[in-house]
Symmetry: C2
Subunit: 249 residues, 2 copies
């Protein structure tokens, strides 16, 4: 399951969902907003809707219908739509900006820091995310993530899964594509990385979209988090970052 | 001497000479090469010549006579010239690459890590260097420098002191130019940063070019390390990074 994994020099990590828990963080901060603003909102649905708006906007940028934008701006635009849908009115622009800042205050998965600290001893560890640089820097500071480098699609002005990200990261980090392993909870990210010659590590994040209500479909049906049984095996499949560190060292 | 220094959010550090001791590191590794290769070389002069070749090459790139190149490539090209000048023969390409790698193995100034750790509690701390990204990442790992972000002229394909670096760093780090303070031992770097609206911190590095022989001109005559009495005062002038941390907190 891990052919040549030992020759990898650099690990590039997806961030949202793979390294940090965006869903749970928004739900937790939403509870505070509910108190402050006397709102009765299902923050899990609110978080899902906010995140779900991201891919269609990226598609419009890819098609040239919108100019390239930082993810912060994309999140802010979607927030306006979500507020209307959830019938939240009366927020000032400053308050909306403050809510949008929740994406800078995301908690790491419980294993993330320990796993990264272990991996950092043996590998260069970098982000490779559609988050803009300052967003990723703020998350790293908030969540104490010990990255060696912040690599962002902002540097290439192309969002993942555009090949410019995977090949550009290898070039910037001074290695060949097959010296670089993409670590992500999302098969689409890993597939694109593999097509560029990168190695791949799939990390399971069954709670990316929150705990599923009893009796509903399994978490593998959650968009983006699904494992893909039709895909060939990844170089490594790990339960979390600590397991990844154990498998790679 | 420090108007509004307290409103700064981000510190951008020059690396070679300001954060790490390239001269001393090359002299120390040169002593090992002398042993291995039975060479009788003044490594201080060798280091100065290697470093001095950098600005003329950058000028040729700026004028379009040479394509944009990573600093690693520039160092490697200058090494070929310096080896001829110092009559070092018989090195394989692999050995030359290994020698060139000394720029990835530079020691921090004695105050650098402690100063950066203190500053990191209050500010985002990033590199802003003409070194390419992977060179800066390797130095950070070798020297245990706790950067929040690696910002390099490679991201803009323009070397400092081109304004693209200072304005580009502010944009990537999500702040206005005057929220960003350039920290450097080189007035030319700080002058260019100030012209872009950045704040400036001058850190004295009297030993950047090694200890001066007794009776010679003062270290202020050393190229690049000179303070410039005709320049208006910088926002902060510090003896080292620990002093900088004390002044800014």
């Amino acid at each position: 399951m891990k052919p040549n994994a030992h020759v990898v020099k650099v690990l590039a990590f997806d961030v949202f969902g793979t390294t940090v828990d965006w869903h749970g963080s928004i739900v937790r901060e939403g509870a505070v907003w509910s108190c402050e603003k006397k709102l009765d909102i299902d923050w899990s649905q609110f978080a899902e809707r906010w995140r779900a708006g991201y891919q269609p906007t990226l598609e419009r940028v890819r098609r040239g219908e919108l100019p390239w934008m930082k993810l912060d701006e994309i999140h802010r635009g979607i927030l306006d739509e979500v507020l209307v849908e959830f019938k939240v009115t009366g927020l000032s622009d400053e308050e909306k900006d403050q809510w949008n800042g929740v994406w800078h205050r995301l908690a790491p998965w419980p294993d993330a820091i320990e796993g990264l600290v272990r991996l950092k001893k043996h590998f260069i560890i970098a982000t490779l995310s559609n988050g803009n640089v300052s967003l990723l820097v703020d998350i790293a500071k908030y969540a104490s993530l010990p990255w060696d480098a912040i690599i962002s699609s902002e540097l290439f002005r192309r969002y993942k899964p555009d090949a410019a990200n995977y090949l550009g990261a290898a070039d910037l980090l001074g290695c060949e594509p097959d010296d670089l392993m993409m670590v992500a909870a999302h098969p689409s990210d890993l597939k694109a990385a593999r097509e560029c010659g990168l190695k791949t590590a799939f990390v399971r994040r069954p709670l990316e979209h929150g705990a599923q209500p009893a009796g509903t479909a399994s978490v593998s049906a959650a968009p983006g988090a699904a494992s893909d049984p039709s895909a060939p095996a990844w170089d490594v499949t790990a339960a979390d970052f600590i397991d990844l560190a154990a498998q790679l060292s």
